[in-house]
């Protein structure tokens, strides 16, 4: 609820200045102008702080004492990368912002092409965000992933993003183009060495054609000391099904911002996720879903379990533009606070300019339901176990809606592990 105010340049901003100057001096490519523009855009705003409405609950400025040095090019051991675990996938490894062919799959997959890029994108959505601009000013590398029209890629495409080193920052720019009629499952992981302090800033631009079917799972399992900033901009064609899920477990501070725009009619988008937070973690999920055309459906369902002194932030804005009749948008945010020092800030917004729409949002915040707990205990289940069952059930409800069996299994296993609930009976 505040106007931006002019604030003095911080240490971090001064360091970023020097970093940009160094990069710009070396840039000879024809994207120098784009970098410069992005930098100017960032400079005009600075590192986001609480007086910027969209960042009100995540005061990045105060959490960035300094900007880490840009991470250098490295090739870690293959074992360092976790990704989707045991699943058989087509792997694309991005380390410190750069594509690493040695750690990536090299077999031919019909309909799929992967190429290394400079990381400079033509992103149109979300680019007025300061951290997205910063990404484009300093971007170290990236890939372009293309899926041909009508290609049904059976193998999950795994993007492993690894930040190697401590006190470093990495910037990657990725573009994903999915042709009309194509089908794909993408599993993207963000990770780094345990307990390393670093900042990863990823910008990804996704364009999906008509009649496509895309499932996208993001696993945010960065080091518990990391800062994670991800901007995802998504454009969807007509009659397409796009399902996205965020699993948020890592980072001291994370911010996932999704900018989604419906470009064609009859499309369905499901944005879901679970945040599992403890210690003094801070996790922010911010969505802008723009129903620019009629007859699209969006679902935004997020759940968070917050323990210790952790803090969950959810901001979601559903915009229904004039003329986007028959829009169906439903947003639901549910949070369990497990400790007296945990905190949730939720801002589920509707902005509606068309009358023939069905839009709703809801939010619940509270502790574990005492009646449920009593019912379980009355059946002989000890309290500690009953609590775990209820937390797991709370999260599973969101997970199961993702409808990709191998991902659901993976997510449930990760959730159990986080809960120390491996002993719980599974189905």
């Amino acid at each position: 609820m505040n106007a931006p105010a002019k604030i003095q340049e911080t240490n971090a901003e001064q360091s970023l200045n020097a970093q940009f100057d160094a990069i710009f001096a070396q840039t000879t490519q024809n994207n120098a102008n784009q970098r410069k523009q992005a930098w100017e855009a960032f400079k005009a705003k600075g590192i986001p702080h609480r007086r910027v409405e969209e960042w009100h609950y995540t005061d990045l400025r105060s959490k960035m004492n300094d900007a880490f040095a840009l991470a250098s090019k490295t090739t870690p051991k293959a074992e360092a990368l976790t990704g989707a675990g045991d699943l058989k996938t087509y792997r694309i490894a991005i380390v410190n912002g750069r594509y690493v062919p040695e750690l990536s799959s090299n077999q031919e997959v019909t309909g799929l092409s992967v190429a290394e890029t400079s990381g400079v994108l033509e992103a149109q959505l979300g680019t007025d965000d300061a951290m997205a601009s910063l990404n484009q000013a300093l971007v170290q590398g990236g890939v372009s992933i293309k899926i041909d029209a009508n290609a049904k890629i059976q193998l999950p495409i795994e993007i492993v993003r690894y930040t190697d080193g401590s006190d470093v920052s990495s910037y990657a720019g990725t573009s994903v183009e999915i042709g009309s009629g194509a089908k794909a499952l993408i599993i993207e992981s963000f990770e780094g060495a345990a307990n390393a302090a670093y900042q990863s800033n990823a910008l990804t631009e996704v364009k999906v054609g008509d009649n496509a079917d895309v499932h996208w799972l993001k696993l945010q399992v960065e080091s518990q000391k990391a800062q994670h900033i991800e901007t995802l901009s998504i454009e969807l064609g007509a009659e397409t099904n796009f399902q996205h899920f965020i699993y948020n477990e890592g980072s001291a501070l994370s911010r996932a911002q999704l900018f989604l725009e419906f470009k064609g009619e009859g499309t369905h988008a499901g944005l879901r996720g679970t945040s599992l937070l403890k210690d003094s973690q801070h996790a922010d999920i911010t969505l802008f879903v723009n129903h620019a055309v009629p007859e699209c459906e969006s679902r935004e369902y997020y759940r968070a379990v917050v323990d210790d002194k952790a803090r969950a932030v959810f901001q979601g804005k559903i915009i229904v533009e004039q003329g986007a009749q028959k829009t169906d948008g439903q947003m639901m945010i549910k949070t369990l606070l497990l400790s007296d020092t945990a905190e949730i800030n939720a801002k589920p917004e509707l902005e509606i300019f068309a009358d023939d729409v069905q839009c709703a949002h809801g939010s619940t915040t509270g502790d574990i339901d005492e009646d449920l707990l009593f019912y379980l205990m009355a059946r002989g289940i000890p309290e500690a176990q009953a609590r775990k069952i209820l937390v797991l059930a709370f999260l599973s409800e969101a997970i199961e809606e993702f409808e990709e069996e191998q991902c659901v299994d993976l997510l449930e296993a990760m959730t159990r592990k986080w809960l120390h609930a491996d002993d719980l009976v599974s189905e």
């Binding site: 497990l338 800030n345 939720a346 949002h361």
Partner: protein, 490 residues
């Protein structure tokens, strides 16, 4: 479908020009020179024969205000206000030392009569059963022109008078509570109000007293190029109860007029305040020309345990509404309520809602907001619910529904939900819809014509809130809703 479309067209065709209360009272006024300065602040204070502490309080506010910027976060757009081009004081010229109602300028009495607010006690007593009597404080531009039933209220120990009088007669109460809920530096408009407020009502209900009748203030802006800056302060002492009503209208004028009020409520232990507003300031014409800028700060403080503050508002007027009647739930077990109907038509812009700040244990709040947008208007609900660390077992339920009539208007919902206590349970629900063809068809199949059907459905949509209003107000509000939406309905 056709029937609904036709109704929508009809609603669109009707402009807000038919505002019923748009007449001007022709009366000689005493105006302060345009513009704002320490001299003007002193002029207002002198006009009110205020003690020095009050003047200093105003001057401090004025100095603060000079350093502040107009807020821009609300979803409303309007040309920049020239604060130097306003009269900050306007009063009907009158003879010295008026004592009785009979001496009020007949033009003003006539004005209130036309507005349906009789100011003569005999007149009220003639037609109304004692339990339905309402005491009225009538504020005309910058001054209170009449207060009814003062003596009878005084018997019960209730103080109900213009705030200017309270500053002179009850300085200890005013000094203790004024600015204690909305601090001088709270926000741009509240600070401006603190510097230049001219009149408004003051209410004090002593311990254990249930106010014997409804109290009401009727605000009327008449003069051109004036701002109205009223200030209301209501204190319900331990174990007391009061129900207070507020109504507002203004003449139809081409230029925009500023209304920046501050209302402060204080509820002590076991006390209860029910505050109802029907806001029907001139909304501007069908082209969006003219109308009142209604920038209001209303806040209640449930200062002690078991207290309760309930806000009910029906907002149909004003070109721009910027208003968030809020509750600070400080006392343990205290309760806050906010019931709102906000109707925007034509070019109106509304950004309104509430804040429920849970500080004490076992505090509960309830928010029911019904927004209806028509024409090319924009209607935003903005609300904050927060639980602080110590607010164990805080409860909030929020229901915010929007109804759109026509496809050129906007309905927006911006909730801020903040919880720092795991035992706090907050539930928030919001929906946006239009009048469905099925509903229309059902009503029509039962013999209602389309206008009756729309009226019925809209009245059903807002029913939860209407029920919260005192009887007389509920009837008026229902009428107003029909008129605001289309005039021919109902």
């Amino acid at each position: 479908m056709a029937a609904v479309q036709e109704t929508i067209d009809k609603v669109k065709a009707i402009d807000v020009d038919q505002y019923k209360y748009g007449f001007v009272t022709d009366i000689e006024s005493e105006l302060a020179p345009k513009g704002l300065s320490e001299e003007i602040v002193a002029y207002i204070s002198a006009k009110k024969e205020e003690p020095e502490w009050m003047l200093n309080w105003r001057l401090e506010a004025y100095r603060r205000w000079k350093t502040m910027d107009e807020p821009t976060w609300a979803r409303v757009e309007y040309p920049k206000i020239d604060f130097e081009d306003l009269h900050y004081y306007a009063a009907p010229k009158k003879r010295e030392g008026l004592k009785s109602l009979d001496e009020v300028d007949p033009e003003i009495l006539e004005t209130y009569k036309k507005l349906g607010i009789p100011l003569s006690e005999q007149e009220i007593l003639a037609g109304v059963a004692p339990e339905h009597r309402v005491a009225v404080d009538a504020v005309f531009d910058s001054v209170s022109v009449a207060t009814t039933f003062k003596e009878e209220l005084a018997k019960a120990g209730v103080i109900f008078c213009p705030i200017s009088e309270a500053i002179r007669e009850h300085p200890e109460l005013v000094q203790k509570y004024l600015g204690s809920v909305v601090p001088v530096s709270d926000n741009f408009y509240a600070t401006l109000n603190s510097a230049v407020f001219s009149d408004g009502s003051f209410v004090y209900i002593p311990p254990g007293v249930r106010c014997p009748m409804e109290l009401s203030t009727y605000f009327r802006i008449n003069e051109q190029n004036t701002g109205q800056f009223e200030r209301t302060l209501i204190i319900a002492d331990k174990g007391s109860y009061v129900s207070y009503l507020e109504g507002c209208t203004a003449p139809q004028r081409d230029e925009n007029q500023l209304h920046a009020a501050v209302v402060e409520l204080v509820a002590l232990e076991d006390a209860q305040i029910k505050y109802s507003t029907v806001q029907n300031w001139y909304p501007g014409d069908s082209e969006g020309k003219g109308g009142i800028y209604n920038f209001v700060t209303k806040r209640g403080d449930c200062r002690e345990k078991n207290s309760k503050i309930s806000w009910t508002q029906v907002e149909t007027g004003s070109a721009i509404t910027w208003k968030y009647p809020s509750c600070i739930l400080r006392g343990d077990n205290s309760q806050g309520e906010f019931y709102s109907i906000a109707i925007s038509n034509g070019h109106q812009q509304i950004d309104s809602g509430t804040k429920m700040i849970h500080l004490g244990k076992n505090t509960a709040s309830r928010i029911i907001s019904k927004g209806i947008s028509a024409g090319v208007s924009q209607n935003t609900y903005r609300g904050q619910v927060s639980a602080h660390r110590k607010a164990s077992n805080a409860r909030n339920f929020t229901q915010c529904d929007s109804l759109l009539i026509g496809d050129k208007c906007g309905a927006h919902t911006v909730p801020y939900i903040e919880s720092k206590n795991s035992t706090a349970v907050f539930e928030h629900e919001a929906t946006t819809s239009k009048i469905s063809d099925d509903q229309m068809f059902y009503c029509q199949a039962r013999g209602l014509n389309e206008e009756e059907a729309v009226a019925l459905i809209v009245n059903g949509f807002v029913r939860d809130v209407i029920q919260q209003l005192p009887m007389e107000f509920a009837v008026e509000a229902q009428k107003l809703i029909s008129i605001s939406l289309e005039g021919s309905v109902g």
